[in-house]
Symmetry: C2
Subunit: 321 residues, 2 copies
């Protein structure tokens, strides 16, 4: 009873046509239907609304006062529908929607500024909504549908996802300028034995990487001074609280001038993290996402080739359709 006979869009279009022609037959001709079909739909509309819209007579048709009143509203509906269809037409051609991309906070600010401009050049009209979150949160949001894409550290639990490895980023060793090892571009691993190493909070992927490396190296993790961001971590090293492993892209982006810090590598032992692009296996835009991932690999190779190394080939993990 609450929703007796909702009008259909078609009925409104028919109404509009009759209102413009004030003649059933010619309106029916415009609509490419027969006149009885038009009559039936109009009277169905009137019954549904319980309002007489048109006054029929043997000599033509007029709008009733109510019909005059409701016609603009009917046209509003038709116009809204046209707008929807126009947007849908655009969306069905290019990839004009806004895609939600998640990135870890230790990567996004240092990668995306180098990549986004050319990515937009390659995909004009592309709109990315970028969200920074710890990688576990990203994974969860990706699974739940809150994100469409995420850049994540590898390896990861790829069930239900497609993961495209993109590039491998070294972690470089950073020490204060007044540290005994300062000045050397390459340091031997054994020289780190006993060194104080600062790192980020445990929720960051870097934490576990550095922790494991320190165990092998015999260096000491300073758990009571964990940084909340790479920038604070750097400040802590500058202040002499210890040393740190910082991602190469961070160093590339933020440490153009030496400042009070010295950067070096470990001889024969490169600490790295690998990044991949992930999306849900069933996502309708998955082909576009794969294209995006190869574009990112390409752009990273062009612009950041010195700082990182690309994925050997496109590897995909996890289920796929």
């Amino acid at each position: 009873m609450r929703d007796p006979n909702p009008p259909t869009i078609r009925q409104l279009q028919y109404f509009d046509a009759v209102a413009r022609h004030l003649n059933y037959r010619s309106a029916a001709e415009e609509l490419a239907i027969s006149q009885p079909a038009l009559t039936a739909q109009i009277s169905a509309l009137e019954n549904g609304l319980k309002v007489a819209l048109l006054e029929r007579s043997r000599s033509g048709t007029h709008l009733t006062p109510e019909g005059r009143e409701l016609l603009p509203h009917a046209r509003e509906v038709i116009a809204a529908m046209r707008t929807l269809r126009e947007h849908a037409a655009v969306a069905s051609e290019g990839h004009q929607a806004t895609y939600r991309l998640g990135v870890p906070p230790t990567l996004g600010p240092y990668l995306l500024p180098h990549v986004m401009p050319e990515l937009h050049q390659r995909h004009s009209g592309l709109k990315l909504y970028v969200r920074e979150q710890p990688h576990q949160i990203l994974l969860q949001e990706l699974r739940s549908g809150a994100l469409d894409l995420a850049i994540l550290p590898l390896p990861l639990d790829a069930r239900g996802l497609v993961v495209q490895a993109m590039f491998t980023e070294p972690l470089r060793y950073v020490i204060p300028a007044d540290h005994p090892l300062a000045g050397r571009s390459v340091v031997r691993p054994r020289q780190l034995r006993g060194e104080k190493v600062l790192t980020l909070e445990a929720q960051h992927h870097i934490h576990s990487l550095v922790k494991e490396a320190c165990a092998n190296l015999g260096a000491v993790i300073q758990r009571d001074y964990e940084g909340t961001s790479l920038d604070t971590l750097r400040q802590m090293v500058v202040m002499g609280l210890g040393t740190a492993f910082l991602p190469a892209l961070y160093i590339h982006s933020e440490m153009h001038r030496p400042e009070a810090l010295h950067v070096c590598d470990l001889q024969g032992m490169t600490l790295t993290r690998e990044h991949g692009l992930a999306w849900r296996a069933g996502a309708p835009s998955r082909h576009f996402y794969r294209r995006l991932s190869s574009d990112i690999i390409d752009i990273v190779g062009l612009r950041l080739g010195k700082a990182i190394s690309l994925a050997g080939k496109y590897k995909s993990r996890g289920a796929r359709r």
Copy 2:
């Protein structure tokens, strides 16, 4: 080809429901349909728009980026439809539309100000669009559908119309204050013999009334000074160009203070015009129009009873369904 599969309102409502539930089964429950029916309509919608709106998986459903983009537009359509239906619901109850009423210029300004306030009291929300035109034009516009109602002088060619007689209005004799007959409230008809009588242009109904009367009275119509309105006619009398017959309601409204004019009646011979309300016989609101006519009769009786006389009983002329 140009219009392959336009979405239906129903499909948009289904889409909205699925977008809210992110679950076909519970959305189907809300919509009181089966889940397969919902699946079918959603995929019909996607095929029609050629856009994937939803990403189905065995564990729940998400919006695609395109779906997120189009959902607000779909809701616009639904909202526009709701607005239409709300207006229709109002229109189907009271008479809330704007009715187009035509009145002759020699009556409207002198009748409606006395009638409209109480008419609005009796029909709260009533909206009348009043249009002044010569009566032949009114009749033509009423027949063509440009007007819904018209107040017209009787009798008239009522084919296809319903005409409700309302009241009879005397025409009173107006002379300059310095005229020999001035000062008498009743004048004998024979005293008008040879008098110069001014009147309106031929298109006004009054013209033929006065012309015929003058023929009987032996008075002389001044054809070279025809007034374009009752006000100019009055001014012409004031200026001494002649005498005139003016409608009682005009006199009642505009001549509160005597000015330079004298008003009198003809003994045993009352020149009158009769007014009725007319509408098309097939008009869906015809019962309301009849009600309006009796309300007007009633109000005129209350407020203007001294100046005019009511229709004896409701007479209707012309075809009716």
